[in-house]
Symmetry: C2
Subunit: 122 residues, 2 copies
């Protein structure tokens, strides 16, 4: 049985997945201050360098971070567009829900409250 649902942008999976870890979010916060090398990024954490590397690979795989190796140093930068895409999805949900509440409100503000299904006014 094939799953022919979910017409949604599959790329957001990896973005939110990347955001779902405190180490990776801390790395992103750090990168907002400007580009950094792998060992600079690793310094604050009680974690091995390979572990940080793996976090960086997750971040890069999601598109939230880009990196380039120059000499023996890899320089990592945040990718604002990817951050905005995730933000945009949440923003769309928020506004959709707000629109619904507005419709509901203006419906209740009209005259005739017929069989108040949700929350009978006390």
């Amino acid at each position: 049985m094939l799953n022919n649902q979910l017409p949604e942008d599959p790329d957001l999976d990896s973005v939110f997945q990347a955001l779902a870890d405190p180490t990776r979010r801390a790395i992103l916060i750090r990168l907002c201050d400007g580009p950094a090398s792998v060992s600079q990024l690793a310094r604050p954490f009680a974690m091995s360098l390979p572990a940080i590397l793996q976090h960086l690979q997750v971040l890069e795989g999601s598109g939230l971070v880009r990196s380039e190796k120059i000499g023996r140093v890899r320089s990592c930068t945040i990718v604002p567009a990817a951050v905005r895409r995730a933000e945009g999805w949440l923003s769309a949900r928020r506004t959709a829900e707000e629109r619904r509440l507005d419709r509901l409100e203006s419906f209740l503000d009209s005259d005739d409250p017929p069989t108040t299904t949700t929350r009978s006014t006390p």
Copy 2:
């Protein structure tokens, strides 16, 4: 070796984790149109009911969804505040990065570029 880093809000972990799945995001989109029962939420998916239940538990554990059982029907609703909290984190990153670019720009627009190193805090 204890990990005494990461002074950040740990609750965002579960929020982003919940968002990192297309089924759960589709459920959230659906809930923007108003409350729904478990089987209503399950209907569009080629997936067993227990699977949907588990997704709902993840969503509820993250605070993105609240639910209440009335009779034999569980009614699920989205929690806008939780959506806004995730959105707010991303928004803060974006603005932080924009501020940095502004500083960089006005710095480059001025005359004297001294030692273009990133972060020379000794």
